[in-house]
Subunit: 557 residues, 2 copies
């Protein structure tokens, strides 16, 4: 038996050898070894005390059994009640008081956020609050609203030039003529009592901006169906966000709420599909370069505010991935690659990558645009700039479908990271290439689960990908739609769904989110050294707060 | 671009190079190339015409969206309506007329069935029919039956010695005293009208023997919960099956229905946990060696009947994997390994493997019994016999849990195949070992899906495993409980869920089910040459029947 046990140990080590949280070049510190046991003990205890499979949570679409890593939208409240979540989150402030607080050294630093679509990064209720301050914003509905069609008749928003502002008093009055614009204040203030009054208006709008459990797991329980609801949320939010006075505050909110969650760097994808934003005057004529000027201004304001309060170390900054949609002709795409080049020349420190986005299963594959991308690379050489591809690829359940095949093209075109890359676990050679070339996967586990690309965290291919030695950065994708604000929820779901994952897994995921960011080498060095300091503080905190006699007793066994 | 497309082609080939359906040592014939296109065209056409995601199927627990590879229990009727299923199945006879028919050369031969638990291989309604012929069989219920508790108050069956037979007239009469035995004929004949009369009795029993869609996808929608229902079916069926007069007919039915589906060899796991079967006299005293004598007798009768009708080539035979449960002490297990050795000495041609079975997530791991298994191997050497391990391992969503870790022990102990092995896609080194040592995975895709180890076929890790070059045999596991009788349903679900899979994939899966069987080399040679002949006939049939001008036209594009 001794011989058997020795061979067994060797076999397990060899099987895990590709995992970078098992790599020996960053051996855990003595503190980390103990803190790891503390976290594992809490996970084990809560698997029984919180996630007992005999408990059920009642939902509109039926009941749901409990288990660690279960469906996020049903589990969210339970997750937030756990000790483990308290340790990982440490949300330190409400937005209003953000600048009054100091850095809480006990917070787990999350590193960088490398995959998030800017227009789905701010809480729906906060977005609505921002919009309510703008008299230019009007809302309309394509039909008469009733309790029966509340979830299918969607609001459409738009900021109008003052000359077109209306006085229409209500969107729910029997006299309301569908498709006519109502000032948002009137629409909300006079929302019919039968539909819940102003609170009913909020529910109507927020429901159109977010995915609810009954939709994800009940009525829309397949990838193809839930994507339709998902896409519809962008149609609703666009009219609120793509308006200069809202957009700047939206960006500020995105940056502050990220910092609150312990995120020290953000690299959002900004969609430049629409060629203009609507200006404060209600005219749709604000070009892309002004978007970037505004982004930069807000970014600098946030950094300055942190600086003044001695909190500069919390946040190293932001760059942007230029995105457009995966629709249209190659010629049409070329307009965007040229636009991106021009912006890169003017804002070299901001533009850090290029991507095309949208539903891979139903929209165009990368190969359709391959020659445009190849020319784009030539043009970069001509202009002496570097805009790495950061392509979405493999966000699909398809096997050998165009969306799955996008992985080959992304890699051949030299993508620096892969957005989602969910299906890469089926591709042994591609995983080998990612491992060897250091192509990092931007994994969005909660997004995948809500969009029904996986049934739950234990079914998610993340462990397979990590065990093959592929680097991963955890990302929130569209937290405003999914409700997974910040990165804490994604870290939580990944941590509880595997016995292999430990503190060092979390650490390496955090580190990779900086290592594989588009920060330049100097910025990266600073970001990593700040991370090192905060991580050590976090680990000490776990030991001091949770590693007491009780946990200690358990540790010795 | 030409250069790009060439590199792309190379990359895809390299990524698929480990797949054995892409291996060049068995290049497809000219007929196979065309038949492959025919099947792919039908799959593509039916993905729209049958599996339109906007169609819904209404179920007691809500509605289900349609897509290829969707939840089996909801999709079953639709599957059976497809042309693709007609091609793959070609069920040739009803049981009663089995021997009146000739081999239909157009049927797709399925090869061997390598993973099925004997006591869940015969249709529930057929089992009930067999039981109805036995006056010794009695039934009881632990409480008063009502429409409200119809699904939770389970029947218990038992064959009684004649002296204990009762005259109790009804199991639903208000005077029925719970837990008293009622002759099955009375129980069925006098089943209350309020509960549906005799047909209601059948529904009660069949419902207790099978998993219904509402249970798998609604009320029990998690692995832990659905396993409880799954396990309860065995408690119900045991009292019906483990009775000599039923058991022999059950075995006959299993063999005949397998042959009907195009299966030419079966290697069922027989559970020897109970040390005795109940004899025709109602006494529980029939030892394991008599089970094997009976099995062999029925097997020979079936073969002789085929032989007489010139159909001997349809079926090469059966061997048995000795199984017991993964519970109890190592000492208790040793009784079974010794029992298995004794049976192997007496029935060397029948006993072909050893396994321990039961819910891996909650019962004992292999490591607990490692020393017993090592001694078992020593004892085999002493006795000059060879009983390969064919261990269940990795039938779990756990990552790094005991059930997942069973994979290491199965492989270290020298398992010849792995039962389920679902979680092996997370283990790069173990997949490498399987590939190099020729350890085949007995994959049970429909079983996995119903037991909620995967959400649907497109989420199943089978493509990842095949792409890593691991050999796979498709298996039905417990078709009587799941309703996936034969192997056709599993082949269907796998075929429609991946664009990579084609006719050659089906062929290699079929071949592997013989290559990795426990037939000896000579038997294997015969089985493979028979397979070769039938496969060629099947391919010709696909061409002649479905490869006409219409398909031909499509083929040229």
């Amino acid at each position: 038996m001794d011989d058997y046990l020795r061979k067994r140990e060797e076999l397990m080590l060899k099987d895990r050898a590709l995992r970078y949280d098992h790599a020996t070049d960053r051996e855990p510190s003595a503190d980390e070894v103990v803190a790891d046991k503390v976290l594992r003990n809490i996970r084990t205890a809560e698997a029984e005390s919180v996630w007992d499979p005999n408990r059920k949570t009642e939902q509109p679409h039926g009941s749901q059994q409990m288990f660690p890593g279960m469906e996020f939208l049903t589990a969210r409240a339970t997750i937030m009640s756990t000790q483990l979540f308290a340790i990982l989150s440490k949300v330190r402030s409400l937005r209003d008081h953000f600048f009054e607080l100091e850095l809480d050294a006990s917070q787990m630093p999350k590193g960088g956020l490398l995959h998030a679509h800017l227009d789905a990064t701010v809480r729906a209720d906060v977005l609505l609050e921002l919009a309510m301050k703008q008299p230019a914003i009007h809302v309309r509905a394509p039909g008469k609203l009733s309790a029966g069609n509340f979830k299918t008749v969607l609001p459409e928003f738009r900021a109008l030039p003052q000359a077109q502002w209306t006085q229409i008093p209500s969107i729910t009055d029997p006299s309301y003529e569908p498709n006519t614009w109502v000032p948002i204040k009137n629409a909300r203030g006079n929302f019919s009592d039968a539909l819940g009054g102003p609170a009913g208006f909020d529910r109507w709008v927020v429901g159109a901006l977010m995915i609810e459990p009954a939709e994800a797991y009940g009525t829309h329980n397949s990838t193809a169906k839930i994507w339709k609801k998902f896409q519809s949320t962008f149609g609703v939010s666009d009219g609120l966000i793509r308006f200069v006075p809202v957009w700047t505050e939206y960006v500020r909110e995105f940056l502050l709420s990220s910092i609150e969650d312990g995120i020290s760097y953000v690299e959002p994808r900004i969609l430049f599909w629409f060629k203009h934003m609507i200006g404060a005057d209600g005219k749709e004529n604000v070009p892309h370069r002004v978007w970037l000027q505004m982004y930069e201004r807000v970014l600098n304001e946030v950094k300055a505010s942190l600086d003044v309060r001695g909190r500069a170390d919390e946040f190293v900054g932001s760059k942007i991935i230029y995105s457009t949609l995966r629709i249209g002709t190659p010629e049409e795409l070329e307009w965007y690659t040229e636009d991106c080049l021009a912006l890169k020349v003017e804002f070299p420190h901001l533009i850090a990558g290029f991507d095309i986005v949208g539903h891979e299963d139903s929209l165009e594959p990368l190969i359709k645009y391959a020659d445009v991308f190849l020319r784009f690379k030539e043009r970069q050489k001509e202009l002496g700039v570097d805009i790495p591809f950061v392509f979405h690829a493999g966000e699909t359940l398809g096997d050998g479908t165009a969306a799955d095949v996008n992985l080959y093209d992304a890699i051949l075109l030299g993508t620096k990271r892969i957005g989602h890359g969910l299906s890469i676990y089926k591709h042994p050679h591609l995983m080998e290439i990612c491992r060897e070339k250091g192509i990092c996967i931007e994994m969005c586990p909660i997004s995948n689960e809500i969009l029904r690309l996986t049934g739950s965290m234990p079914m998610h291919p993340l462990p397979a990908i990590m065990n093959h030695g592929v680097h991963v950065a955890l990302c929130s994708d569209d937290p405003a739609v999914f409700g997974n604000m910040g990165l804490t929820f994604d870290f939580f779901q990944v941590f509880v769904a595997s016995e292999v994952n430990g503190l060092i897994t979390l650490r390496e995921l955090v580190w990779d989110s900086i290592r594989f960011s588009n920060l330049d080498e100097e910025e990266k060095g600073r970001a990593l050294s700040l991370l090192e300091k905060r991580w050590a503080q976090f680990v000490r905190h776990v030991l001091e707060e949770y590693g007491g006699s009780d946990a200690g007793g358990r540790l010795e066994t």
